[in-house]
C-alpha cells in the first residue's frame, strides 16, 4: 500500500470510470442477450435447428437459401411461421458435440450423420422407415409424384439405413465422388493444345514429361501432382478392380464380402493367399508408380498444403473429392478442369492381365445425411423440411448452389459437378488393409504401404515386411475378434429383443411401433447374423484343423498368441 496520496486520487477516479464502463457494457449486454433470446424463443414461430460440419465455401449460403425458401413455402401453405437456424461445427469437434448434446438431451432438431456414431443412432434419432415408403409430398406435379421417397434416390436411400437395427434414419441431400483436378493453363503452357489423359500409362507419361520440362525451365517449384498423405488415399480410387478374383476365391462363407472377420485370418493361415500375390502387387503398384511424381516428403505434408500448392498454380494435377470443388473454384484464378481418373486398362503392360475393369461407383456414399433427433420439439415439421430439401426441384437448386452432386433422380448438377456424377458400371474391390481388420493388422499394413509409396522399398520388400509383421498382428487381431464377438453379439441380441418387445407390446410403444412384417423380416436378418456368428465360432474348429495339419503360417500365428498369453499371465 505504498502508493497512497496523489496516485490514489487518480486511481480512485479511474476505478470509477472502469465501474461506469462495466455497468454500461453490462446493461448493453443484458439488453442484447435479451433481444437475441426474444427472437430465438418467439412465440408462434417454430424453430428448427440444424447442425452439420460442412464448412466448405458456399455450402452454408446454399443451405440458407433453401431454408428461407422453405420458410416462405411453409407460411404460404399453412399460414404458420417457422425459422430454420443452421449451426456449422468444425469437423474436428463435431462428433464430440453430437455425443455430448445427445447425452445432454439437447440435440438440435436436425443433425448431420456420418461420423461413426457407434450405434448411438437408434438412441438419439427418430427412424423414418415408414415415411420413406411413401411419396415425398414436395414432388407433387412431377413424374416422381407417386414414387416412394426412397426410390427417388439414386442409391435407393441405402445410405440412410442404420446397421444396428436396420431402420432408415434421415435422408441425404448429395452424393460424393473423387476425381482428378488439373490446371488447364499450365497444361496448355507446357504441352500446347492437348486433351488431358484418360488412360493410366498416358497419365504417367505426361507426368514424367512435365517433370522433365520443369527441370529444363528451372522451375523447381513445380510438381506434376500436388499430393499429401490424404491425396494418396484419394488416389486409391484410381485403381482398377484387380483384387476381384482374390476375394471371390477366399470368400469362405459366400456372403460376397471378404474380410472384417476371421475368414481372412483363416485364408492366410491356410496359405490360400499371401502378400506376394501378383494381384495385390497390381493393386499396390498402381499407386506406387504414381507417387514418384509427388513432391518429396509428401507423406509428411498436410492436406491443405497440397491443395494450396495446386490452387497457387504450382502443380498440374491434384486429386480430391467433389466437396473440394467449390473451394478450389473460389481460390484459383486459372481455368480448372476436372477429369475422371485415368484407370489402368486390360492391355496394361505391367499388370493388365489382372485388370477386370474399373471400380464401380454404385456404392458411392450419399452425403450430407440429416436425421431428426429424438429431442426435437417439432419432429413432423423437421421431417417436412427434410422432404422439402430432397424434392427434385429443391435438391437440384441446393446442389447447384453448393456445387455438390445431387442425389435425387433427375436432378441436374451444376456444370462444375457434371464430371462428379456417379458411374455405376464396373466391378467392386476393396482395400486390402480394410479387409484384414481395423486394428493391429491395418497398422502393420499402412506402415508397409508408407514405405512402398515413398519408394523406400520395392514391392517385394513391401510383401516381405508384411509377411514378417502380419502373423503377430493377426494373432492380436484374433484375440480382438474373439473379444469383440462377445460385445457385438450382445449388441445384436439387445437389438433383437428390442424389436421383439416392440412387436409384442406394440400398443405401449405408441406410434413408433414397427409393423409386424418389418419386425419379421428384421428378425430373420438378425437371426441370420446370429447364425453367422455361431458359424464363426465353428470356424475355430477349422483353425484347430489347420494347426493339426501343420500349416506353417497357422503355427506362426499360434506362436504369437502363445507369447501374448504368457506375457499376460506373468
Amino acid at each position: 500500500m505504498a502508493d497512497k496520496g496523489q496516485k490514489r486520487d487518480f486511481g480512485a477516479w479511474s476505478s470509477y470510470v472502469a465501474i461506469v464502463v462495466l455497468v454500461i457494457s453490462f446493461s448493453v449486454s443484458l439488453w442484447r442477450v435479451y433481444k437475441v433470446q426474444e427472437v430465438e424463443q418467439a412465440d408462434g414461430v417454430a424453430t428448427i435447428r440444424v447442425v452439420h460440419w460442412q464448412l466448405e465455401a458456399g455450402f452454408r449460403e446454399a443451405f440458407d437459401d433453401i431454408a428461407r425458401r422453405f420458410e416462405k413455402a411453409y407460411l404460404a401453405e399453412t399460414g404458420e411461421r417457422v425459422r430454420i437456424v443452421q449451426n456449422a461445427i468444425s469437423e474436428r469437434v463435431y462428433k464430440q458435440y453430437v455425443q455430448t448434446q445427445g447425452i445432454g438431451k439437447t440435440l438440435p432438431d436436425l443433425v448431420q450423420l456420418g461420423r461413426d456414431e457407434l450405434g448411438s443412432v437408434p438412441r438419439f434419432f427418430i427412424s423414418n422407415t415408414e415415411d420413406v415408403q411413401k411419396p415425398n409430398p414436395y414432388n407433387k406435379g412431377t413424374d416422381l409424384e407417386d414414387v416412394p421417397w426412397m426410390d427417388t434416390y439414386l442409391d435407393g436411400m441405402l445410405g440412410s439405413v442404420d446397421q444396428t437395427d436396420l431402420e432408415y434414419y434421415g435422408a441425404a441431400s448429395s452424393t460424393a465422388s473423387t476425381r482428378l483436378f488439373y490446371n488447364a493453363d499450365l497444361l496448355k503452357e507446357v504441352f500446347g493444345d492437348i486433351e488431358p489423359p484418360t488412360e493410366y500409362r498416358a497419365f504417367l507419361d505426361l507426368c514424367a514429361r512435365f517433370e522433365q520440362w520443369a527441370e529444363e525451365q528451372g522451375r523447381g517449384d513445380l510438381t506434376p501432382v500436388a499430393a499429401s498423405k490424404y491425396q494418396v488415399s484419394v488416389f486409391r480410387a484410381m485403381r482398377a478392380a484387380t483384387l476381384f478374383e482374390l476375394m471371390l476365391e477366399n470368400d469362405r462363407d459366400f456372403d460376397g464380402v471378404f474380410g472384417q472377420n476371421d475368414e481372412v485370418l483363416l485364408a492366410y493361415a491356410a496359405g490360400d493367399f499371401d502378400f506376394h500375390d501378383p494381384r495385390i502387387r497390381a493393386d499396390e503398384m498402381t499407386i506406387a508408380n504414381l507417387t514418384q511424381y509427388f513432391a518429396p516428403g509428401f507423406m509428411a505434408m498436410d492436406r491443405m498444403e497440397a491443395q494450396f500448392r495446386f490452387t497457387q498454380g504450382k502443380a498440374l494435377f491434384c486429386a480430391s473429392g467433389s466437396w473440394d470443388a467449390m473451394s478450389f473454384d473460389s481460390q484459383v484464378d486459372f481455368p480448372m478442369g476436372i477429369l475422371d481418373f485415368p484407370f489402368p486398362t486390360r492391355d496394361d503392360p505391367e499388370f493388365g492381365q489382372y485388370v477386370r475393369g474399373r471400380i464401380s461407383e454404385a456404392d458411392a456414399p450419399a452425403v450430407f445425411r440429416l436425421a431428426v433427433s429424438k429431442f426435437s420439439k417439432h419432429p413432423d415439421l423437421t421431417l417436412r423440411f427434410l422432404q422439402f430439401l430432397t424434392s427434385r426441384e429443391n435438391n437440384q437448386r441446393f446442389n447447384q448452389l453448393s456445387r455438390w452432386p445431387p442425389v435425387i433422380k433427375g436432378a441436374k448438377p451444376h456444370p462444375l459437378m457434371e464430371p462428379f456424377m456417379r458411374k455405376p458400371e464396373g466391378f467392386w474391390t476393396a482395400e486390402v488393409n480394410r479387409i484384414i481388420g481395423a486394428g493391429p493388422c491395418a497398422a502393420a499394413y499402412s506402415q508397409a504401404q508408407w514405405e512402398l509409396v515413398e519408394h523406400k522399398v520395392d514391392f517385394d520388400g513391401f510383401a516381405d515386411m508384411l509377411e514378417r509383421d502380419m502373423p503377430r498382428a493377426m494373432a492380436q487381431e484374433f484375440e480382438r475378434l474373439l473379444n469383440n464377438e462377445w460385445e457385438e453379439r450382445l449388441a445384436q441380441e439387445m437389438s433383437l429383443s428390442h424389436q421383439l418387445g416392440s412387436y409384442s407390446f406394440g400398443d405401449t410403444w405408441g406410434e413408433a411401433a414397427p409393423t409386424p412384417e418389418r419386425v419379421q423380416s428384421k428378425m430373420v436378418y438378425l437371426w441370420e447374423m446370429r447364425m453367422r456368428r455361431y458359424r464363426n465360432s465353428y470356424r475355430l474348429l477349422e483353425w484347430q484343423e489347420l494347426l493339426d495339419a501343420g500349416e506353417p503360417k497357422a503355427q506362426e500365428i499360434q506362436q504369437h498368441i502363445k507369447i501374448d498369453l504368457e506375457r499376460k499371465q506373468s
Binding site: Q99, A300, E305, R567
Partner: protein, 428 residues
Amino acid sequence: MPKYVSIKRLTSYWRLYLFVAPAAVLVGIFAYFPAASAIYHAFFRWNGSYVKEFVGLYNFHQLLGWSPFLWLVMVAWVVLLMALLVGRPMWLAGWAPWGLLLMVCGLGVALFTAGTESTVLHMNAGEAWQWYGRTMWATVLGVGLHQIVRRNWSQVVQGVLVLYGFLWFYYQSMYATGDQTLWSGFGVIFILVLANLVKMVPSIATAVVIHRLKSERWQYIYRVLFVVPMIVPGMVGLLVWKSFFDPTQGILNRVLLGSGFYDVMVWFDGLVGWGVFHAGSSPSWLGDASLVIPSLIFWGFPWVGTVGVLIYLTGLAGIDESVYEAADIAGATSLQKFTYIEFPLILTQVRINLVLMIIATLQTYGQILILLGDSGGPQGVALVPGLYMFRSAFVELYAGKACAIGLIVFFFILILTEINNRFVRVEK
C-alpha cells in the same frame, strides 16, 4: 479476536449461518456432489444415462493392468497417502489406519461377491480370494508404513516411495498390461513437465534483469507492459499460435523457409536420419505425428510467462539496495549475485511454481483439444490422460471409465499436493 458463540446462544445468533449458507450450498451441489459422483461411478459401467452396472474394479483393471506387483504398490500408496492426509489432526491419526483396514475388509467382500456374481470381472471365486489376500497384505504393509511415518522417518520413507513410484511408472510404461493409451499419455505428460521445467528459466532471467534496473519508474513501466499480453484472452493466444504453425501460411514455416534455416534442418535431418524434414516441402507441425510433441514444446517461444515474471518480481522486491552495494564492494559478478542473493529469495516462488506447473501439466488437455481435436492429433500421439478422459466420456460414452481415469489423475495430483505441502511451503 473472533467471537465465540456457544450452542446455548445459538437462538440469537443462528442468523449468522445465513452468511455462509449460499457459499456452502453452491459448493456442496456443484463441487462436492460431482466429486462424490465421480468416485461412485468409477466402479460402474456407465454411459451417462441408462446403462449403469456395477463392475467393481473392472475399470481400474482395464486401465492399470493386472500385475500383482503393481497392485501391491498401488494399494500401499493409497493407504500411505490417506494416512498422511488424515494424519494431520492428531485425534484422527490413531484411528485412520484401522478405519482403512476395515474399508479394505469391505473391499475384499465386495471383490469376492463381484468375482462370483459377475463375469465382467473375469474372475472366479478362488482368484477373488487371492486378490483379497493380496489386498490385505498390502494394507498391513500400509499400516506399518503409517506407523513409521508417524515416528517421523517420513522423509526417508517418502523418498523411497517416490522412487518406488517412478519405478512403477517406468515398469508400467514399458511392460504395461493395462491401457497403453493411458500410459503413453502419462509419458507425454512426463515429457511436457520436463520441457516446462526448462521453460521456467526465461521468466526468472527476465524478472532478475528487470529487478536489477536502478530506475523505479522503468520497473513500473515494464511491469505494466508485462501485464498486457496476459490480459489478451488465452484462447486468442492459443489460436494465434496455432495459426503460426499452419504448414502453408503459418509464420513459423515462412520464417524457416525464407531465412534458409530450413535447409539446415533438412541437412541435419539427412545427417541424423529422422526422415521428418524434406527439401521442397514444409513441415506440418501439428499434422505430423513425429512433430506434434516438439511443436507443443516450442509453443509460446520464448516462454516468458508474464505471470511468472510478476511473481518473481514480487519475491525479488524484498532485497534491500544495500545488499547489492555490499556485493558490489565485495566485487561479486552478476552470476554470483544471482546465485547468492537473488535465487535464494525467489526459491520459494520457484518451488511453488514448480509444483503448480506440474499439477497444471498433469491436468492439461484443453489446449490439446483445441489444437489437435479429441483424438489427440495424428495417431493420437498427444492423447494425454485428461484428454483421454474427456474423449472416453464425451466421444466414446464410457463415462464410468472416464471417472476412473479422472480418479487416477486425481491420485497423482494428490501426491504432488502432499509433497508440496510437506516440503515446499514449510520453508517460507
